[in-house]
Symmetry: C2
Subunit: 332 residues, 2 copies
């Protein structure tokens, strides 16, 4: 503790001196952050570093000094003082009681985050991007373009239905199917009057639950074998449950933008487009909440949320690729 | 229209043939996506491209073909078929009635998005990153570290107060202040019994409105002169109002993670930490809604939302830098 205190005092002095030098370079007395007596200032600076709850105030003081130092005309002096500033920051970080020292990283979350795969890239690691999206934000177009850009597979509801229907048709070929190489074209939709069939098919579970149950198994099997982009299906939550690394992205855009786009894509008038949006957003939100207990579209439930209206389809694809593929492992 | 139709038929044939080739390479008859008669399949594929509302189904069919093609063992054949697949996608994009052709990009939004600055980087363009965040997600630590990483200025509430107080103290030095080089240390907090002073100071406006009013002016002036990271203050909305390019980022983390962190940073027990979080989130949410009429923390109101629990402080900084600085203009 004493030692910590001594370290803080030393640093406080360096900060005070740095401010003094910056002030000299800029001339104006207003340029000085710390205007009290040297002892007072150093004392209170040290206080901020040593276990004070107000250590964040020190961050603002440091920022003020740096904001000024960056305006020093003479390049050499500026470089020298900014270097000292950076050194001081490093030292501050080494003080357990100072700001910026308590991280927010959730180890278990990070372990499951495919972004960190580049640090431990083995054959067992697969890049899986789970995309949730609101209707009309071009989320599926973005997901599809992303899969093509990363040269990995793409799965949406229709493809899963195809695979699941096939699974259902031939329980023996699970191995083959899970890699989605061998799927029939026609999707058998359950007909009316199939209630008893369905009862057997879904092991007596309500249909939704059974489909979700089957999907979960399929998804985890696929995840062990290939890289892919998956749209919706609560895939992020299923994979988290299966302790399988992935990246979860939520894509949306302002309601007005989405209405305009849906008017074009579905050739609807404003009223019908806007109703369709509200209905589908509500449906997806309910589906997600029912199977996950979480709030759909709440940023804290995803690794990343993107506003596609800011970037467009191609721009969003580029940004997501940049984020998940910093080493260019896929774009090669 | 006729011409469009002809183009669709031609493409449909190419898609059907591609599927056929993929099927031959993989051998299994299940490998075939299109199992109907050639004419039927080509006809229905063309339908999907020509103004059908179901063109998105074509995307799934294409994905199925590609998912299979990627599993072709022989590298040369795989490369050839994937090339044809990509060529077909390009052609499909050129058909106005097909999927992926209606973009979601909001031109006016994009114009105001600093991410696009790299395309038109002039002295007049400044990189301004507006960060909103929930309490406890280390958002301010991330913003501060980001400013240091990008070597640009950093502004938070305390620094703004300092600047505004100085503005207030000396109306004549706005020019100097707006670059935030010349600010006094002590922040004058209005004392009790200053009501009349305040009435003059705030031009008869309620104090909050006046401070917001002054802040808006200051922010827009600064934005014309320097690059910076700004924490909170509805800066994103103020700059949008001023038609000034910027990037808006919302940072948060799961409640449980934030509680744990605040317990450490503020040395509080779980109950008090959790109450503090709820209070401050509510306060920020109210402030944002009062001055913007928008929902705080709703992904559609920001360019990007980041879950800091997935990346930690340094990881979040790296990701945001990668996103806004793809050309390394700043990290140089």
């Amino acid at each position: 503790m004493q030692e910590n205190r001594a370290k803080c005092m030393k640093l406080a002095e360096r900060i005070y001196e740095l401010d003094g030098e910056v002030y000299q370079c800029l001339g104006s007395s207003l340029g000085r952050v710390f205007t009290g007596s040297r002892d007072e200032c150093v004392e209170s600076l040290a206080e901020l570093m040593c276990g004070s709850r107000k250590s964040y105030l020190l961050r603002s003081e440091m920022a003020l000094v740096a904001n000024m130092a960056r305006t020093i005309p003479d390049e050499e002096t500026r470089a020298r003082l900014m270097a000292e500033y950076n050194n001081i920051l490093v030292e501050i970080k080494s003080i357990p009681t100072s700001f910026g020292t308590v991280d927010i990283l959730d180890e278990s979350r990070a372990k499951l985050n495919a972004i960190h795969l580049h640090e431990r890239f083995t054959d067992k690691d697969h890049l899986i991007v789970c995309i949730s999206r609101t209707l009309g934000c071009a989320g599926t177009d973005i997901g599809f373009a992303l899969a093509n850009a990363l040269k990995i597979n793409f799965y949406d509801q229709k493809i899963f239905n195809t695979v699941l229907e096939h699974l259902d048709a031939d329980k023996n070929s699970i191995e083959d199917i899970s890699s989605a190489n061998e799927v029939p074209n026609k999707v058998r939709k359950p007909q009316k009057g199939q209630t008893l069939d369905n009862f057997h098919r879904y092991h007596g579970l309500p249909e939704n639950d059974a489909v979700f149950f089957n999907l979960s198994g399929l998804l985890c099997e696929m995840a062990a074998k290939e890289d892919f982009v998956v749209m919706g299906r609560c895939a992020d939550v299923i994979l988290t449950g299966g302790r399988i690394p992935h990246v979860s992205v939520f894509i949306t855009a302002p309601f007005e933008q989405r209405v305009r786009r849906v008017m074009k894509t579905h050739s609807l008038d404003r009223k019908h487009a806007s109703n369709l949006l509200k209905q589908l957003d509500h449906k997806r939100s309910k589906y997600y909440h029912f199977f996950t207990g979480r709030k759909w579209g709440d940023p804290e439930n995803y690794d990343l949320c993107i506003n596609s209206a800011s970037y467009g389809i191609q721009g969003s694809v580029e940004m997501i690729s940049r984020m998940i593929d910093q080493n260019g492992l896929y774009r090669r």
